[in-house]
């Protein structure tokens, strides 16, 4: 059980748990959290896929970085929509 397989297991479990939660949750915050955890799980798998002989390939790192920034943008949009739905201010 090298350390990489442990991280792969962690990544896989993160993704699966997040998918399960996504399918069963109706609450807005829970779905947003599940999406974020799913994205982190995928990022973990992406990095580990690019890891050969102890060196992590630079291109998946760029992919994960882009993924993180995209995710924060979409989460901000999701949160502002969710607030508007439950806030109900009369704009």
């Amino acid at each position: 059980m090298t350390s990489e397989t442990m991280y792969i297991l962690a990544g896989v479990l993160l993704a699966a748990l997040a998918m399960h939660r996504l399918c069963t949750a109706r609450d807005a915050l829970a779905r947003i959290l599940a999406l974020n955890v799913l994205s982190v799980g995928i990022a973990m798998l992406m990095l580990l896929a690019g890891r050969v002989a102890g060196v992590t390939d630079a291109v998946p790192q760029a992919f994960v970085l882009t993924g993180i920034v995209v995710l924060v943008a979409v989460t901000a949009a999701l949160l502002s929509l969710a607030e508007r739905i439950s806030g109900g201010d009369d704009d």
Binding site: L38, G50, V59, V74, A77, L78, L81, I85
Partner: protein, 481 residues
């Protein structure tokens, strides 16, 4: 290759301009749309004469850098987007060119619409041109986010709820797509589209393609995963729902078609799954459309049905290197985009004239059916796929290929779908014509507006496209197989 650069970059720069100067957003939007139309026509002409073009961005060769691929299929999709873009821009013009200062609700709708719409246009152009899977993932994100913006524009409670569900489902779909790309990277070590044929050999590669298709199914609102779509498309503003239904959904369908072309005959299981889901979607969408009470909901469910039809076409097409059946799917996409955009614009105009869009109340006798109802009827003809339209030519090519293979089940499903779509669309058109012999003396026909011109123009292009479908088909023949 400069047209491809213009197509990819111009909408984004115009979007920034429109966001920076909200009161002049319409001028930004109009100029960008017209230049975009010109560039796409030039690109199509260049491909017709010179064949495919490929440009490596930053002069870095394919696997490392990203390459913009402009071939027949991309050119057809780009010109489709450009035509619908011009019509939608025309419709949006009815909100006035320059916004008065302080105009409250209308200016927010106006200020918000143009940047989001230009971002959608830019994302679509980038998607059709891109030759790299991760790059396509980022374009899908832009597409999803700006489409949600367009849905939430009206600000009503149910449009916001629909927008939230749309964004959550869209993000989930994109993440599944990203997981597929990650697995593809794990399988073959590179993520550009040229690597797709290599994916088919290994088990991981096939799982990667499966995940990619699952992600696309969510983005394209294919049957079992379409729950978010009807609410979003029916509660958005008319111009916005035209864009959503006609173009945004096409991005995912285009990519599914592109991958089935690249992967060739290797992914039989995926193809059959696509075809089955498509057929189920077609029947279910038509069934829901038959029972829909509101016009916008009916048109949204008809989108579900038409997407099912297109996916069926993609699924049953033979191996692209041998037969040209995949072109039927492309033609169906083209005709659906034009017809559905025309239909949503017409529905917007009808709702504006009558004040509501309940199907039962469509025939108020003091208002005779005007141009919008006529545009709706023509768009319905090309959606059903009756002869003079491109939809009919698409179905013709499809059935022709299926008969060679003797696949009678699919043909029966196709004809059943056509009959069902005829049923639910004639329900609306006959309701418009129902007026009673003693039409009120003061009955008048609504006068012409820019919205009508856009809807009628699109509908007649969809109709005439059938006769002129030699052009897109020669373009499609030039696609890099």
């Amino acid at each position: 290759m400069t047209e491809a650069y213009v197509l990819a970059l111009l909408p984004f720069l115009a979007a920034v301009g429109a966001a920076a100067t909200p009161r002049m957003a319409a001028i930004w939007g109009l100029c960008a749309t017209l230049i975009n139309l010109g560039a796409s026509i030039l690109l199509a002409a260049r491909i017709l004469s010179g064949g495919d073009m490929r440009a490596d961005l930053g002069d870095w060769p394919a696997p490392l850098g990203i390459s913009l691929v402009a071939d027949g299929l991309a050119a057809v999709m780009l010109s489709m987007t450009a035509i619908v873009a011009t019509a939608v821009a025309l419709q949006a013009m009815s909100w006035g060119l320059v916004q008065p200062r302080g105009g409250q609700q209308r200016s927010r709708l106006q200020a918000g619409f143009w940047p989001l719409w230009l971002a959608t246009l830019g994302a679509l152009n980038a998607l059709f041109l891109s030759g790299d899977l991760f790059n396509i993932y980022v374009t899908f994100e832009i597409l999803g986010l700006s489409a949600v913006g367009l849905t939430a524009l009206t600000g009503s409670r149910n449009s916001l709820r629909a927008a939230f569900d749309y964004l959550a489902a869209g993000l989930a779909g994109s993440l599944v797509f990203l997981l597929g790309v990650a697995l593809a990277y794990a399988a073959v070590g590179r993520v550009d589209l040229a690597a797709v044929p290599a994916l088919v050999d290994t088990a991981t590669g096939r799982l990667a393609l499966g995940l990619i298709f699952a992600g696309l199914a969510v983005k394209a609102a294919l049957f079992p995963l379409h729950f978010w779509m009807p609410a979003a498309h029916s509660s958005a503003a008319p111009a916005a729902s035209a864009v959503l239904s006609a173009l945004v959904v096409k991005g995912a369908l285009y990519l599914a078609l592109r991958i089935t072309i690249e992967a060739g005959a290797g992914i039989e299981v995926l193809r059959i799954a696509l075809a089955v889901l498509g057929a189920a979607g077609m029947l279910w969408g038509s069934w829901m459309a038959l029972r829909a009470e509101r016009l916008k909901l009916l048109v949204a469910y008809s989108t579900v049905a038409q997407i099912g039809l297109i996916t069926l076409a993609i699924g049953v097409a033979d191996d692209p290197s041998t037969s040209a059946m995949w072109q039927a799917a492309a033609l169906l996409m083209l005709s659906h985009a034009l017809a559905k955009a025309a239909m949503f614009l017409a529905v917007g105009r009808i709702a504006e004239e009558l004040g509501h869009d309940r199907i039962s109340g469509l025939n108020r006798t003091d208002l005779r059916p005007g141009v919008a109802e006529f545009a709706f009827a023509i768009a319905a003809v090309s959606l059903i796929g009756l002869p003079p339209t491109a939809g009919f030519i698409g179905k013709w090519l499809l059935i022709d290929g299926l008969i060679d293979r003797g696949a009678w089940v699919w043909i029966a499903l196709l004809l059943g779908g056509t009959a069902l779509s005829a049923a639910y669309l004639s329900r609306v058109v006959s309701r418009c014509l129902r007026g009673g012999p003693h039409v009120a003396p003061g009955a008048r026909r609504p006068e012409w507006r820019t919205g009508d011109v856009a809807a009628l123009g699109l509908a007649t292009t969809a109709l005439a496209l059938g006769l002129g479908s030699a052009l897109p088909l020669t373009l499609l023949n030039g696609t890099a197989l």
